[in-house]
Amino acid sequence: MKRNTTILTLVFLCTCFPGFVFAYHILNSSSGGRFVFIKWKNTPIDFRVDGGTLEGKDGIVVVEDACDEWNRVPTARTLCGSLTVLPMDITAANFDTLPLLNDGIIIFDETGGILSSLGLSANTLGIGITLSNTATGEITDALIILNGSIPSSKTTDLLSTTVHEFGHVWGLAHTAIGGINTANNTPGLDPIDPSAIPTMFPFNNPIDDTFGRTLEDDDIAGISLLYPQN
C-alpha cells in the first residue's frame, strides 16, 4: 500500500510538471509493430571529408569545430571520430561515385549543384541525410552536404549549420522550441530569446545565427537520451 502510494505520487508529480518534457525529436521507426529509435549501433563515427574548399577556404576547420561541440556533451558518448580528408574535390559530377562504407561523408557543395541534383533548393543551408535499417533501428551511413553558395554571415552562420547537420547524422530531428521567439513577433506564450533557441531548430536565426554554434539544453537532452554516457 505504501509502495503504491509512492508510485501514484510520482505519477502525479510527472503530470503536474510539464518541464520534464522536452521538445527535441528523434528519428524513429515503427517497423513490424515495434517502435525503435534510429541511431548508430557503434560510436564514435568516422567521417570522410571533401577535399575541396568551402566558401573558398579550408572547410575542415568548421567540421572539426562542429565535431568538438557535440563531443563536449558530458552526458553523452563521444560521437565524432576521425576526420579523413579525401584526396579529391567532391562535385556534382563525381558525387555519386563515392562508396558507402558504414561511416559519414561530409561534402562541401560550393555551387549548390549537388543539392540541386538531389532535388533540393538553393535556399538549403545544409542537409544531414541518414541511411538506416528500419527493422533494426540502425543508422548505417550518413551524408552531410554544406551549401557553399550561400555566404556565411551573421544571419547564415556556416558553423551553426554544420553543428545542426551533425545533429541529424546522430539521429536527432528538428526541435519545436524556437518557433515563437522575440525575433519573429509571432504571438504566443513566453517567446524564447533568440540566444536560447536550440541548435536543432530548423531555421537560421535572423538576429544572430552564431547562437546556433553552441548546443542548448534541449539539444543536450536529446543526444544524451540517444547516446547516454555509460
Binding site: 500500500m1 503504491n4 508510485i7 501514484l8 510520482l10 505519477v11 510527472c14 503530470t15 520534464f20 518534457v21 525529436h25 528523434i26 528519428l27 524513429n28 521507426s29 517497423s31 529509435f37 534510429i38 556534382a92 555519386d96 558507402l100 549543384g113 540541386s116 541534383s117 538531389l118 532535388g119 533540393l120 533548393s121 538553393a122 535556399n123 538549403t124 543551408l125 545544409g126 542537409i127 544531414g128 541525410i129 541518414t130 541511411l131 538506416s132 535499417n133 528500419t134 527493422a135 547564415t156 549549420t161 545542426h164 547537420e165 541529424h168 530531428a173 528538428h174 519573429n184 530548423p202 531555421f203 537560421n204 535572423p206
Partner: protein, 192 residues
C-alpha cells in the same frame, strides 16, 4: 479480497506510469535540413514558379547505382500562379524515402498523398530536368476543401503577406482559414 485489490492497484499503477512516459516523449517523422526562414511572400518572390497542383502518384525507388533512394512525385498542374507555363504535369524527384527496410531520411522532405491538392513553390530545374522545391519545409502549402462551403482552404500557415479578398482591396477574414482564391490573388498582387 485485500490481495486482489492490491494486485489490481499495482497493475493500474504500472499502466499509468507507462502511459505517462509514452506521452512524455513525443517523436515524429524526421526533419533534417536547415533553411532560411522565409515567409510565404518571400518564398513566392524567390521561386521561379508557383503552381496549384494535385498529386497523381508518389513512389520511392533506388537510384541506378543502388546507393540512394529517391521519391518521385507526379502532379497535375491546375493553375500557374507565377511564372511561365510548366506543362500539364510535373514530377519532383527528391532524395529520401523507403524501400523495404531501408530508409533514407531527409528531414523536411514533404510527403504527398494521392489526390492531395497543394501549392508548390518551385525553383529552377536541376541538370536532370526535374524542378526543385524552393524550400522543403516551406515550399508546399496544403489545401483542403471546406466541408460546409465547398471552397478550397489553405491549411498550412501563411506568413508575411497581406491576404485580400479576391478582386478587392479589402482584407480577408482569417477566422476560418485562408481561401485559396484569396491567396492566389494576394500573391499575384504582391508580386506586381
Amino acid at each position: 479480497m485485500i490481495d486482489f485489490n492490491q494486485g489490481f492497484l499495482n497493475i493500474l499503477s504500472y499502466f499509468i506510469i507507462v502511459m505517462v512516459c509514452m506521452f512524455s516523449f513525443s517523436c515524429s517523422k524526421s526533419y533534417a535540413t536547415r533553411e532560411f526562414s522565409n515567409s510565404t511572400l518571400e518564398m513566392a518572390r524567390k521561386s521561379e514558379h508557383v503552381v496549384v497542383a494535385k498529386c497523381i502518384s508518389s513512389k520511392s525507388s533506388w537510384d541506378e547505382k543502388h546507393k540512394f533512394i529517391f521519391t518521385y512525385t507526379t502532379f497535375s498542374v491546375e493553375e500557374v500562379v507565377k511564372g511561365e507555363t510548366v506543362g500539364d504535369d510535373i514530377t519532383l524527384r527528391i532524395i529520401g524515402g523507403q524501400v523495404g527496410d531501408t530508409r533514407v531520411d531527409v528531414p523536411d522532405k514533404p510527403e504527398f498523398l494521392q489526390e492531395e491538392e497543394v501549392i508548390l513553390f518551385l525553383g529552377p530545374k536541376n541538370p536532370d530536368g526535374y524542378p526543385t522545391l524552393s524550400s522543403l519545409e516551406k515550399g508546399v502549402l496544403r489545401l483542403k476543401v471546406d466541408e460546409v462551403s465547398g471552397e478550397k482552404i489553405v491549411t498550412t500557415p501563411v506568413t508575411g503577406i497581406k491576404i485580400l479578398i479576391k478582386d478587392t482591396e479589402n482584407p480577408a477574414p482569417s477566422e476560418n482559414g485562408v481561401l485559396l482564391e484569396d491567396l492566389i490573388y494576394s500573391i499575384k498582387k504582391s508580386l506586381q
